[in-house]
């Protein structure tokens, strides 16, 4: 395992045609953190991840393990040890689970290896199949997996890619309660060896598994700290947790009734 690395974002700014989606964000994610990014729709969470991974142009500075990322191309940023998932699971549907993982593991392979067949299952792939619980389904086409399994496959692809930082965009959206629980525990295990950043709307999930939380609002960091600290912040209550908390209470009342 490579050593842990953290993320240092300074004055990050992303604008599209005059609209500023990310407006001077400062964010520190410590090595080995399990950080949740929350905030209302349009707060700039996904755009922030897009900027870090090179998908959109940004101003400011993003240091990862001390190296500047801004200005590098997407695949070079990926090779420096950063992996991400998307809101909708994107796996290679026509390829098997094993093939998906094998491709994710292979960005550094030489030409000679590429031009030959895969005769055995690489050790890291076998280990990851166990970790994400897909060993049984290794030879099934990824397109036939259930929604939750696809998300796990995506996380597995980041693990075999051996990234040091995982950026996950709503990994538990659409999952059942049990699947959420399993995913949360998986993320906690992963964050012992890697740094994990999760964008999430699900407050219960966040409360159960976050080690630290950043709240984004209108392209800026509104609040930062532990779950308790953030929840106690009156600004956060006003723009975000306020009405969500009310909704959550309403939910509980309905369930209890």
């Amino acid at each position: 395992m490579t050593e842990l690395a953290g993320l240092e974002i300074r004055q990050l700014r992303v604008s599209f045609d005059g609209f500023t989606a990310v407006d001077g964000v400062d964010l520190d994610v410590h090595p080995g953190d399990l950080r949740f990014l929350i905030g209302p729709n349009g707060a700039g969470k996904t755009t922030l991840v897009d900027a870090v991974t090179g998908l959109v142009r940004a101003e400011g500075s993003v240091l990862f393990g001390g190296d500047e990322l801004l200005g590098r191309s997407v695949h070079r940023i990926a090779r420096s040890g950063i992996g991400r998932t998307f809101q909708t699971a994107t796996v290679f549907e026509e390829l098997t689970v094993l093939q998906n993982l094998d491709i994710a593991a292979g960005a550094g392979r030489g030409m000679w290896t590429m031009l030959r067949r895969r005769r055995t299952v690489p050790e890291s792939v076998a280990r990851t199949l166990e970790t994400v619980g897909l060993t049984e389904l290794a030879d099934s086409p990824a397109g036939t997996l259930a929604h939750g399994q696809k998300q796990w496959l995506e996380i597995g692809m980041l693990l075999v890619q051996d990234v040091r930082l995982l950026l996950l965009d709503e990994p538990v959206a659409g999952m059942s309660h049990d699947e959420r629980q399993a995913t949360g525990e998986l993320l906690q295990r992963i964050s012992e060896e890697r740094t994990v950043v999760v964008i999430e709307h699900d407050m219960d999930f966040m409360r159960s598994f976050a080690r630290s939380v950043s709240v984004l609002h209108a392209g800026k960091v509104l609040s930062e700290g532990t779950v308790a600290e953030v929840q106690a912040d009156p600004q956060v209550q006003e723009v975000y947790l306020g009405h969500t908390a009310a909704e959550a209470t309403a939910d509980v009342t309905v369930q209890e009734a």
Partner: protein, 366 residues
């Protein structure tokens, strides 16, 4: 790993069967004239092998393979014309149309047979590498890529037509007599050319099959289906696509080179927009993602073209257009996907009745 073994055993049997058909059955059954036509169809099939790789596996709709077919064809024809003319003489058409008294400088290296042979494959590959690196790095894809490659085919044909004195213009390079010392009007030598073509086709299929089943082949499918995702895994998709494009160009070049001794002519009409589309139609009808499908489709459509245009010269063009549209709209996997469908149905029936372990459908036949 039984699946893998079964698959290679099936492929080996397929190759043996194809070799028996091409080398024993066809020469026995077909007249010299029909065998000559088959040689021509097999050249189309060689282009289709490349299209299967680039389009079927890589998602690159190469509507301009005529360019590479033409580069290979002209490279071969230039050498054969120089050889026909004999040392010190100019090829016949240059004496007719040209004012030059000696071979143009860019013709001269083709006097060397080794240079010309290497150029038939390497020249198209080099051109594809240069074009492709610009195209793919600029992230030109989808319909834009198809239109661009088609425009290249048109431009190349128009350029050739404009160079009457050095390329033979619209007529092309015609009336080729010999092939490395063998007279092409001799039926025995024509038969030899057919065997060379058949062997080359089998070789290309074997090469493509190796690529399709390699790790690179898996990555190519991944790029086709989700280029962005591949980029986030740390690969540069431009390079992945470039390899398929360059290999397909080399295959088209070899096909063009062998087409010349089989037919005795290469001209702009054989490499422009219409022939470029025809190359794709064969692969589309047979099944672009399946090597066997693409090859059989290419041979079948080329055969149908001869057969139908002998009977109904005017109707063929419409029929061909219809075939292309029907194949793309209703059977995007081509006829090969029907085979897969039947196999899967049989497999599921078998499991229903016997409750055995489900058979994993093999994605493609090859």
């Amino acid at each position: 790993m039984n699946l893998l073994k079964g698959r290679s055993a099936r492929a080996a049997a397929g190759f043996a069967g194809a070799a028996a058909l091409l080398f024993a059955v066809a020469p026995l059954l077909l007249s010299d004239f029909r065998l000559g036509l088959l040689a021509k169809y097999l050249c189309t099939a060689m282009v289709a092998v490349g299209i299967c790789l680039a389009w079927g596996r890589g998602g690159l709709l190469t509507l301009g393979q005529g360019v590479f077919f033409g580069l290979g064809g002209y490279a071969m024809a230039m050498h054969l014309k120089i050889a026909d003319a004999g040392p010190g003489n100019l090829p016949d058409f240059m004496q007719l149309y040209g004012t030059a008294t000696e071979l143009p400088w860019w013709w001269q290296p083709f006097a060397n047979p080794l240079f010309a042979l290497a150029a038939t494959v390497l020249l198209p590959m080099a051109v594809a590498a240069i074009l492709g690196s610009f195209i793919f790095r600029r992230r030109v894809k989808g319909a834009y890529f198809a239109i661009l490659s088609q425009a290249l085919a048109a431009a190349f044909a128009i350029w050739l037509i404009g160079q009457q004195a050095t390329t033979g213009g619209t007529n092309g390079l015609t009336d080729i007599q010999g092939f490395f010392g063998y007279a092409l009007d001799d039926p025995v030598n024509q038969r030899m050319v057919y065997f060379v073509i058949a062997a080359a086709l089998l070789l290309l299929i074997a090469l493509a099959r190796q690529l399709v089943h390699s790790r690179y082949g898996e990555l190519l499918v991944a790029v086709r289906d989700s280029e962005e995702r591949v980029r986030f895994l740390g690969y540069n998709p431009a390079n992945v696509k470039l390899v398929a494009y360059v290999v397909a160009a080399g295959m088209a070049g070899l096909a063009g080179a062998l087409f010349v001794p089989a037919v005795g002519i290469i001209s702009p009409a054989m490499i422009g927009i219409v022939p470029s589309i025809e190359f794709v139609i064969g692969a589309a009808v047979g099944g672009r993602a399946s090597l066997v499908g693409a090859v059989l489709g290419a041979v079948g459509v080329a055969w149908a073209k001869t057969a139908l245009s002998e009977e109904f010269p005017a109707a063929w063009t419409y029929f061909q257009g219809l075939l292309f549209i029907v194949a793309l709209a209703f059977l995007p996997g081509g006829l090969a996907s029907l085979v897969g469908l039947v196999r899967r149905r049989m497999a599921s029936q078998a499991t229903d009745s016997e409750e055995t372990k489900p058979v994993v459908p093999v994605g493609e036949a090859a």
